[in-house]
């Protein structure tokens, strides 16, 4: 304790925790749980205990790319997949007609049950304490490179000590909600914002940006006329998100359908005429809206020719009338929200329970993060979730898990967890954030992963279980199960390669016989489709095993191509750039590229090559300079 920390001697009123997690959302829960699993004491400070694990936006988990993240969280020993399995009221696989790599699992959850399940997990862990409160300040000790987190100061002026701190503040930093012309300072609907923490972070020399996102009005389901609206039931045969979920008792809850309606010209007319009343027209230019979750105002503005946009009516739970109309995020005044809603089929007499709103908030510009999610130059400080510029529960939870694991492992003096881009979507997410940054709230898609054929939902456990085990979150028993699965799949792939298929019923006997694997490689054929040609049907696998077999065989050629590309990339990734490398000594770099390199300070040429705006030519020049430097230094 010293004066430099700006703190008086001995005011800690509580004992020191190993880790404090600020926030109890999806990132905060995963972080606290991960830390606790590493046998460290944890304090979760959240504004409202009853909002732990709350879904602030739509009551759904997963989707294309996001479902991948959820399964990866599960493979690493996180919570989200299990809680989704317990509380899901509709399970669906998106992109069923596409290949395995881009299929995404999605679940509608009961919002209240999701939160209460998460709360009971958190409360059930003895080493996690939960405190309701507002953190106003991060307390540091030391100077320069030696600055280190020692605690937080709450609104009440209480200082609580910790050895590491994970910030998962979501949209609460300086949050301002917009409904029509009204602006309300809040963290999300009905909750207070964190007004001074931003200043505290700026005081530490951190750079903050401002993002905007929005949510939809909540509807009274009793006033919706579902007659004549398309019903969208869940899939019959979906698999749980978590490999730990017992298939026999899945799904636990009764399954209910969503409904699908759409906006029309009249809807768009109302929105277009009134956009001036929306925050879209007023928002400060420097606040960047989310492109991947646009408000209806933005959809109408950006796609003037579209006749209509889909609206999914998602039930919020089993024992509530509340309905979430996905796709209608808006910040129009309440009366106009009602006016445009009532132009939509089925919603002619709808009543709004709570209005939609837009919210703008501060985020930490993510180039200040390291790949472990610690904040550069401030030891013991980690951040995860929307505060890092992402959007979405899954993205937040994935970061929370990594930040929690790494805060814990750093405290224990163990190797931190850094996942590769070729290994996981989590790796893609974090490396994009730390090397490319993001100009708008970052959402995961499959097209962000250059090794997408390798990164599938079906093999998430095979890709990451070992990492989870090494990190201390996954049991040895579970790792064994995954190894068994790997062996099973490998055996079956080998069997299909060498087993000749029986001739099809409609094919002449004389036609050359081919192996089952060759059959499976035909675009129109599936693993299921080889059943009738298989001389040993009792050897066949089912479920996720079958998916993995199919993917491994179908993608084999592409996967080996992908691996070859990976090898070449590895060469660049192995080319380390010295930390004190002087980019101004590389005169042939454009000043734009040079500025980006100074800002991101990539640790390898491979990382540099992924920074947006760094051209292939610049990469060539840079690798040449780095190599030459290495030779000169012997």
């Amino acid at each position: 304790m010293n004066e430099n920390g700006g703190r008086e001697e001995g005011v800690f009123t509580r004992s020191c925790y190993d880790v404090i997690v600020v926030g109890g959302g999806h990132a905060g829960c995963e972080a606290a749980h991960a830390v606790a699993r590493l046998d460290l004491s944890t304090l979760m400070i959240t504004l409202r205990e009853d909002r732990i694990g709350w879904m602030s936006c739509n009551p759904a988990v997963g989707g294309v790319g996001k479902g991948h993240l959820v399964r990866e969280i599960d493979a690493l020993g996180g919570l989200m997949a299990q809680v989704t399995d317990w509380t899901g009221i509709q399970f669906r696989t998106l992109n069923r007609s596409r290949g395995l790599a881009v299929r995404g699992s999605r679940a509608q959850c009961d919002r209240r049950l999701y939160s209460s399940s998460m709360r009971s997990i958190i409360h059930g862990i003895p080493s996690i304490e939960v405190l309701e409160g507002l953190v106003e300040d991060v307390v540091m000790e030391g100077d320069g490179e030696e600055r280190r987190v020692v605690g937080v100061r709450t609104e009440e002026g209480e200082e609580i000590g910790c050895r590491a701190l994970v910030l998962t503040t979501g949209t609460f930093l300086n949050g301002v909600a917009h409904v029509g012309h009204e602006q309300i300072a809040c963290g999300r609907e009905g909750e207070r914002p964190a007004l001074t923490l931003s200043d505290s972070l700026r005081g530490l020399g951190l750079v903050l940006g401002r993002f905007k996102t929005g949510t939809t009005p909540r509807l009274d389901g009793r006033t919706i006329d579902l007659k004549g609206i398309e019903v969208q039931p869940g899939d019959e045969d979906t698999r749980p998100f978590s490999s730990r979920t017992d298939r026999a008792s899945f799904p636990r809850l009764p399954q209910i359908p969503c409904h699908l309606t759409r906006t029309n010209r009249r809807t768009h007319e109302v929105v277009r005429k009134n956009t001036r009343h929306s925050v879209v027209s007023r928002m400060n230019e420097s606040v960047i809206p989310t492109r991947y979750c646009p408000s209806i105002e933005e959809k109408v503005r950006r796609f003037p020719d579209r006749e209509g946009h889909r609206v999914y009516l998602e039930p919020e739970g089993l024992d509530t009338h509340e309905v979430y109309p996905a796709g209608l995020s808006t910040s129009l005044p309440l009366d106009l929200q009602l006016e445009f809603l009532r132009t939509i089929r089925g919603l002619e007499e709808v009543e709004i329970l709570r209005p939609g709103y837009a919210i703008e908030y501060d985020y930490l510009v993510p180039y200040q993060l390291t790949p472990t999610l610690s904040i550069r130059g401030l030891r013991g400080l980690y951040s995860a979730g929307q505060i890092n510029g992402t959007s979405g529960y899954e993205e937040a939870a994935a970061q929370g898990l990594v930040a929690g694991i790494n805060a814990g492992r750093w405290l224990k003096g163990e190797n931190e967890l850094v996942l590769g881009r070729e290994q996981s979507y989590i790796g893609v997410l974090i490396s994009d954030l730390t090397t490319v940054g993001t100009a708008e709230p970052y959402r995961m898609f499959t097209s962000r992963a250059e090794h997408r054929l390798l990164l599938r939902e079906d093999n998430a456990d095979m890709r990451l279980c070992r990492e989870g085990w090494l990190a201390g979150l996954v049991s040895g028993e579970q790792l064994e199960r995954v190894k068994d699965r790997e062996a099973r799949v490998a055996r079956e792939v080998a069997r299909l390669e060498r087993t000749m298929g029986r001739p099809g019923a409609d094919e002449p006997q004389s036609r050359g016989r081919v192996s089952l694997a060759t059959l499976l490689r035909r675009p129109e054929c599936s693993y299921e489709g080889t059943l009738s040609r298989d001389p040993n049907p009792d050897l066949r696998l089912s479920g996720t095993d079958a998916d993995t077999v199919e993917a491994e065989i179908k993608y084999a050629g592409y996967i080996s191509r992908s691996r070859r590309r990976l090898e070449r990339l590895r060469e660049l990734d192995n080319l380390a750039i010295p930390t004190d490398f002087d980019y101004s000594c590389v005169p042939s770099l454009s000043s734009e590229v040079r500025e980006k390199l100074w800002k991101h300070r990539p640790s390898t040429v491979g990382q540099a090559s992924r920074i947006s705006g760094v051209t292939p030519a610049a990469v060539e020049v840079l690798s040449a300079s780095v190599l030459r430097l290495a030779r000169a230094c012997g």
Partner: protein, 435 residues
């Protein structure tokens, strides 16, 4: 000085060096231009040119004596000096051009003086390389510069100028734009399955196909553009002893091939560059076509067939004095297999012609020229026909042509990948693989 150069080594930055080279052909030319580029370029100018004002204007020619940097300050030459300041110069660095008098010894003494002031000799293409690295031009443009300098033919010059103007880059940008927009649609349909309605997936294969065709058309100009990289190849083909070698010798103006009355004498393909009516062409002569030839001659035939593949024009030579029926079939087979312009010659006019018109004209309808290698009758007409035909098939003006191996290779690979993607889509393959 020593300190500066050691820090250069430490950071590994050779680009900090100043390079110099004689930019004009070394010889007895009237003017010799020395170009210097790099941070020390302007220092070099002030040291060598006492006629420069203290603060010279950029891009202005100053008259000055060129003096030795040694103690004696001996006058080496009297000429013009121009300065360009970074980044507004060809290489993006400071540049100096010294225009002195030509002459080998004179040029050497001037470049030695420049080098003694801490410049390094420029490696081939290094000025352009620096321009590329400094973002002064893209690679395709730089390649255009190289080609411009090396162009042997007028059409080659046009192609180089078009590359220099960035026209190939523009064409390729358009293709990249189309591909990107299609790719964005494909990816969007994968990543936003709930939001992407109204996309007409059935049109995707056709769109891929159209980009592929454009790409291949562009790549296809490479074949036509071969002529720009080298003199056109004119291959003489025909049955043994039809007098190809004699004809080649007449065309070349001297005895080149081994000429003998015995059929099958010529065993090596002979190539010779000749100027026909002012047009530089490479004449290729080879073994006669004969089915029952000796082994050594067969080898020659095989090589010849390859040579014919590279031909811009084939001159089919037959012995016009013999009964055409004897060789008709073989000639027909050989010539009809070629897919390049063909000019038919009935040689040995001096021995009299034997009823050609009726039988042989149908070989692809080409015109016949009657020649005699002995009397040189008809040879001038043959030359004119060759030149006319080559000019007729010369790559058109104003078209964008792919003239470099690297570009052709990249376009072919792109076309192949597009083809693969299109096939996959057609066959109902998974979209995530197509992208």
């Amino acid at each position: 000085m020593a300190k500066a150069s050691s820090s250069r080594i430490a950071t590994g930055m050779e680009q900090a060096s100043t390079i110099a080279a004689i930019a004009t052909p070394l010889g007895a030319g009237g003017v010799c231009i020395i170009r210097v580029s790099g941070p020390r370029a302007h220092r070099v100018a002030t040291e060598l040119c006492p006629g420069l004002p203290a603060e010279p204007e950029m891009r202005r020619a100053y008259r000055s004596k060129f003096v030795s940097p040694l103690e004696d300050k001996a006058v080496l030459d009297d000429g013009l000096v121009l300065l360009f300041a970074a980044p507004a110069s060809f290489t993006g660095e400071d540049i100096v051009e010294l225009h002195g008098h030509g002459g080998v010894a004179q040029s050497r003494s001037l470049i030695d003086a420049v080098m003694s002031l801490g410049c390094e000799p420029a490696r081939p293409g290094e000025f352009s390389r620096r321009a590329v690295l400094n973002g002064r031009m893209d690679l395709a443009t730089a390649e255009g510069v190289a080609q411009l300098v090396a162009a042997e033919t007028e059409a080659g010059l046009r192609a180089a100028r078009s590359l220099l103007g960035g026209e190939l880059s523009k064409r390729i940008e358009v293709l990249i734009g189309q591909t990107d927009s299609l790719l964005a649609q494909l990816e969007a349909s994968l990543d936003f399955p709930d939001e992407c309605e109204g996309m007409d997936e059935s049109r995707w294969p056709a769109r891929i196909l159209s980009i592929k065709i454009e790409t291949e058309l562009l790549a296809g100009t490479w074949d036509g553009a071969r002529r720009l990289r080298r003199a056109p190849r004119v291959v003489l083909l025909g049955p043994p002893n039809s007098g190809k070698s004699s004809l080649l010798n007449v065309l070349a103006g001297y005895e080149r091939a081994i000429v003998d009355d015995e059929p099958g004498t010529t065993r090596d393909i002979l190539e010779i560059d000749v100027s026909l009516k002012g047009l530089l062409v490479t004449l290729v002569d080879g073994a006669g076509y004969r089915e029952d030839g000796e082994r050594i001659e067969l080898l020659g035939i095989e090589r010849l067939a390859n040579a014919a593949k590279e031909a811009d024009l084939v001159v089919g030579v037959i012995d016009g004095s013999r009964d055409p029926a004897e060789c008709e079939e073989a000639v027909y087979e050989l010539f009809s297999a070629l897919d390049c312009p063909l000019l038919m010659v009935a040689n040995k006019l001096d021995l009299g012609l034997a009823g050609l018109e009726s039988n042989l004209v149908r070989v692809d309808g080409s015109s016949w020229i009657e020649t005699s290698a002995v009397t040189e009758e008809g040879v001038s007409k043959l030359c004119q026909e060759i030149v006319d035909l080559l000019n007729l098939t010369s790559p058109g003006e104003g078209r964008v042509l792919v003239t470099l191996e690297r570009h052709h290779d990249a376009l072919c690979r792109a076309g192949g990948a597009l083809g693969e993607a299109g096939d996959l889509l057609e066959k109902g393959g998974s979209l995530e693989v197509v992208c």
